[in-house]
């Protein structure tokens, strides 16, 4: 196996306390769901490796405290992120309304190039739904983001959501990465190159058969 180039991204989970950020993270990294979570007070992270487009992408996912009173502190973590999940809870109209505030904070504090994705969590809890799927789609469209409804409980759309954001971040950094990969491929494909050259040098002047004997 040829050596591949590795990259590391930082992705940040944002949204009101209780929307399920920590559960999403646990589901994605450990494939586990613990229904009764102690609410996050601080900033936690986990690592996960994805293979996208042949590149081993390692993502560091930061989970933040969503409570109002910690928000001035958590904002300082925004600028280190390349991608941001804006998470609301489909059973909470309030958490959906707050997305606007989260998004404007992101605009203010995160790097310009940051990629965002809108996530409506707890899609399994249909009985208590307060936010229609269409509302999510509409909001995402207004912000120019992709949108997923997820459930950390049933594992619906979890890998898809995380992979999509990672792909977008990868694409946003594509120019620099391509250059890296190109130079790396020179090495990897050396054997193939020689193969062709060897072929032509090995049987020159043999018009009858050409390179393939």
């Amino acid at each position: 196996m040829a050596k591949q180039y590795d990259v590391l991204f930082r992705l940040l989970l944002l949204g009101d306390s209780g929307v399920g950020k920590t559960c999403l993270l646990c589901r994605f990294t450990d494939n586990e769901f613990h229904p009764s979570h102690i609410s996050t007070i601080g900033v936690d992270f986990k690592m996960k490796t994805l293979v996208i487009d042949g590149i081993k992408v390692r993502i560091q996912i930061w989970d933040t405290a969503g409570q109002e009173r910690y928000q001035t502190i958590t904002k300082q973590y925004y600028r280190r992120a390349q991608g941001i999940f804006l998470v609301y809870d489909i059973t909470s109209e309030r958490s959906f309304q707050h997305i606007m505030k989260w998004a404007s904070d992101v605009d203010e504090y995160a790097p310009e190039k940051v990629r965002k994705i809108l996530v409506g969590n707890k899609s399994d809890d249909v009985d208590k739904r307060q936010v229609a799927t269409e509302q999510g789609i509409k909001l995402a469209k207004a912000y120019g983001m992709d949108f997923f409804e997820t459930s950390a409980f049933t594992n619906q759309n979890i890998a898809e959501t995380f992979t999509r954001l990672a792909e977008q971040v990868l694409a946003a950094n594509k120019k620099d990465l391509d250059l890296l990969r190109m130079s790396n491929n020179d090495e990897i494909n050396l054997a193939a190159l020689e193969e062709e050259e060897g072929l032509c040098d090995g049987a020159p002047g043999d018009q009858g058969k050409g390179c393939w004997c």
Binding site: D30, G42, S183, E187, K209
Partner: protein
């Protein structure tokens, strides 16, 4: 003409020589974050410099450009460029100059002692030169420079040995290795064997040119084989070939081979490698080509001086699907009695022949490290203990079994002296050596050689079955007959689905491991409540940290954005940083203490006992700890002006009122329609208490009070208006001093300070200044001065004098807005003494 960009090149500006290296460095713990700076180490001789380049293609381009120039320098120059322009910088710093000198001497010594190596290097590169001529492949360049580099005594970690190393991220090496190891361990999970046929042929052509078709030898199988590995020996016996490794025969024989391959399939030439007369050509059926990777070729000479290429081996290694295969073609030492020399050649080849790996962090591969080894060639082992006639008689009877028991190779293998672990098929053909050229007649020359099975095919590895093993008598070009064997080899093919699953499982486990190794602690409490915090009173609570993670951890309280320290000035954490071993714990004291600098804001309600601490674990998460509490406002740290507005004890006032009062600038009086007090009632209570009880108190204002009594006095002042105060006279006296000290604006306001210094020797001027103070400040000043004069009247008992009181009170009443020096201090005392003289005011 002016210098333009074209006149300047990287080579001229940067001292790129063999002593120069640019390597990307990275701390083992930090990963390469996209967008992060690229850290690199530049070294020139013994000097090292660490730099950071901004992330992006420019930096990448620079790195690869430097490396390109570096490889050119290594290839072309025998004499290192001098870069004299640097030397003037060396002279500037003497220390540096001597280092360079020392280094030069050191290098000279090393060069002379390394002579032998250099010669060998040149010889080795002979073959390299030829190769690059024949193929002009980028690979030959790298082989060349690699050999050059072997002569340099340099630490390999600083050598940018090729582009791969510069661009590959070394810090990922560990993870990659781990993944590689796990994949190898679990190979059975995602591979399954599938048979492929390998046609192996060996032919000693005795320096001849091809005169007949090779089809009878190479197309002798019914079905086209999947691979061809064809070895030649004695391709060219000329001096030119020997000395310059250059021969037209390579092309002639390659052509003959390609024309004779099985007609029912198409083959691609994957690799050709030659050392003088020993050549190996590797073909693969077209449809298998895409599954061949990691192709490398190497040669080892074991001829004259143990190095030259008249004897030795050439080898090709490659990966086919998931099997690593090595094909060796060797020509071992000649002469019947030299079998031990042949054994030795074999061992030499095994140890000296090494393939480089694509990943430069991996050690070179030896022959024996491969799953499948196919070894062909003129091994030159003879038949001993029988004379020519015996041999020929056995051949006549086709009793090859008996004859084989006299074969040196068989005997040496049986004794485990050579080819340990290798297998060979039964020999059912007559010896392939030595014939009169152009015939099937045994050697008729004077030497009349004993026939021998010189040309052999052996293998080592699992799942290998021989289909045939034969000689080809029809070919008459040489004094040897060619030999062929068809081996069916079980190759490990990858089930892509299973591979993906295994790979993902491994990565998941490594991720899990990594996540478990993120430092972590549990906190005894996340919220700390400090109830009824009072002025100058210590309040402490304990925060216990237990390291419940898998690794030791380093903790520290870190600053929040836009704040100068990790916590508010009235709070401290002790210790604020430290180390906790795995399973260990640490107690941290969180202490709240309000002093005179923090009290004013808290009294006025501008500030609350409220803070969030960020406890950071190095390479780990952050915890937020909230500290809240309530502060009981105090006359201590409140302004004279505010206190004059308060007719009730301060703690009976609402937050609202206190905020309003604090907001008012002096003079106006919005909250109270009532007239403000002349002086703060708290001040009056203390002074009146002393006036009534302590005029004759010995050492009053000289002897300290008790801390506990101070707390009682403070509470008394803040909560009520009692007739008398608790505590001793000394404690009340000290409480008074502390009160003056805590005033946010001193009795003589800061704005008057400078003026006071200037006129300090003039008594009437001093009085004039005081008369200009704001009303309540003036009242306080005069009240205190009058009280002190009363004290002085009793100096016989209380042992006070003007000097003592001036020293104590001047420093409290006239405070400098900045730092006070000794001369200023004297002036303030002089100023205040005017007011202590009996009869003044």
């Amino acid at each position: 003409m002016a210098i333009t960009a074209d006149d300047v090149s990287l080579e001229d500006i940067i001292p790129i020589s063999l002593d120069f290296a640019v390597v990307e460095v990275s701390s083992s713990e930090e990963l390469a974050v996209v967008g992060a700076d690229t850290k690199m180490k530049v070294s020139y001789q013994e000097e090292e410099l660490e730099l950071r380049l901004p992330f992006g293609s420019h930096s990448r381009l620079f790195l690869s450009e430097v490396n390109r120039v570096w490889s050119d320098v290594c290839k072309t120059t025998t004499q290192a460029p001098k870069f004299e322009w640097i030397s003037k910088y060396h002279k500037a710093t003497r220390g540096l100059g001597t280092t360079v000198n020392k280094l030069n001497q050191h290098q000279k010594k090393e060069k002379s002692s390394d002579k032998k190596g250099t010669i060998e290097g040149e010889k080795g590169s002979n073959s390299g030169t030829h190769k690059s001529k024949a193929y002009s492949s980028p690979e030959s360049q790298s082989i060349f420079s690699r050999e050059d580099r072997n002569d340099l005594v340099r630490s390999s970690s600083h050598t940018p040995s090729n582009k791969a190393q510069i661009l590959a991220m070394p810090q990922f090496g560990l993870r990659d290795n781990l993944i590689r190891c796990e994949l190898l361990k679990n190979e059975d999970l995602y591979t399954y064997p599938e048979d492929f046929s390998f046609f192996l042929g060996t032919y000693n052509v005795n320096g001849q040119t091809p005169k007949e078709s090779l089809s009878p030898w190479l197309s002798c199988t019914l079905n086209p084989p999947d691979m061809y590995c064809i070895g030649f020996q004695e391709l060219d016996l000329s001096k030119e070939a020997f000395f310059f490794n250059d021969t037209p025969k390579e092309l002639e024989w390659t052509k003959a081979v390609s024309q004779a391959l099985h007609p029912d399939a198409k083959y691609a030439l994957v690799k050709l490698v030659r050392l003088v007369g020993i050549m190996l050509i590797f073909y693969v059926k077209k449809e298998h080509a895409e599954f061949i990777s990691d192709v490398e070729a190497e040669t080892v000479g074991t001829g004259i001086m143990g190095r030259m290429g008249n004897k030795g081996a050439v080898a090709v290694r490659f990966r086919f699907h998931n099997s690593d295969i090595c094909v060796v073609n060797s020509h071992l030492a000649a002469h019947i009695e030299e079998y031990e020399r042949r054994n030795q050649d074999y061992k030499e080849i095994c140890s000296r022949l090494q393939f480089r790996q694509l990943d430069p962090s991996q050690p070179p591969l030896t022959i024996m490290k491969h799953d499948v080894i196919l070894w062909i060639g003129d091994l030159n082992y003879r038949i001993s203990e029988l004379d020519v006639s015996n041999v020929k008689e056995l051949i006549g009877k086709k009793d090859f079994e008996t004859l084989h028991s006299y074969d040196q190779l068989k005997r040496q293998i049986d004794e485990e002296a050579v080819f340990v672990g290798f297998a060979e098929g039964d020999i059912d053909f007559q010896p392939t050596y030595k014939y009169d050229t152009g015939s099937d007649k045994w050697d008729t020359s004077e030497k009349c050689r004993v026939p021998a099975w010189c040309d052999r095919i052996l293998w080592r590895g699992k799942n290998i079955v021989q289909q045939h093993y034969q000689s080809h008598m029809a070919l008459k070009t040489s004094d040897h007959k060619p030999v062929s064997s068809l081996l069916v080899i079980g190759i490990k093919k990858v089930n892509a689905e299973a591979y993906k699953k295994t790979f993902e499982e491994i990565v998941r486990n490594i991720d899990k491991m990594e996540n478990e190794c993120i430092p972590s602690v549990t906190l005894s409490k996340r919220e700390f409540h400090f109830k009824d915090v009072k002025y100058m009173q210590h309040h402490a609570e304990t925060l216990s940290l237990v390291n419940d993670g898998q690794v030791p951890c380093q903790f520290e309280f870190i600053q929040k954005p836009n704040e100068p320290t990790y916590c508010k000035p009235w709070l401290t954490a002790n210790p604020s940083k430290g180390f906790i071993a795995k399973g260990g714990s640490v107690d941290i004291e969180l202490e709240v203490f309000v002093n005179r600098s923090t009290a004013p804001e808290l009294n006025s309600g501008k500030e609350q006992i409220e803070d969030i601490l960020v406890l950071h674990l190095e390479r780990g998460k952050d915890y937020f700890i909230s500290v809240i509490g309530n502060y009981l406002p105090s006359c201590y740290g409140s302004s004279i002006h505010s206190l004059c507005q308060l007719r009730e004890p301060i703690q009976d006032m609402s937050q609202e009122t206190l905020r309003e009062v604090a907001k008012m600038s002096g003079g106006e009086n919005a909250v109270n329609t009532e007239k403000p007090l002349d002086i703060p009632k708290e001040l009056w209570m203390m002074v009146d208490h002393l006036f009534r009880n302590a005029l004759k108190q010995e050492d009053i204002f000289q002897q300290p009070g008790l801390r506990s009594e101070f707390a009682e006095i403070r509470d008394c002042l803040d909560t009520g208006i009692p007739d008398s105060l608790p505590g001793s006279n000394h404690s009340v006296a000290e409480a008074l001093l502390l009160f003056l000290d805590a005033l946010p604006e001193p009795v003589v306001p800061y704005s008057f300070y400078q003026q006071c210094l200037e006129i300090c020797s003039n008594a009437s001027q001093c009085e004039k200044v005081i008369s200009m103070l704001p009303q309540c400040h003036k009242n306080v000043f005069n009240y205190l001065a009058a009280f002190l004069r009363e004290l002085l009247k009793n100096s016989a008992s209380n042992r006070l004098d003007v000097n003592i009181l001036a020293t104590i009170f001047a420093s409290l009443l006239l405070r400098s807005p900045t730092k006070q020096d000794l001369a200023e201090k004297r002036k303030t005392q002089e100023f205040f003494q005017h007011f202590l003289a009996q009869g003044s005011s």
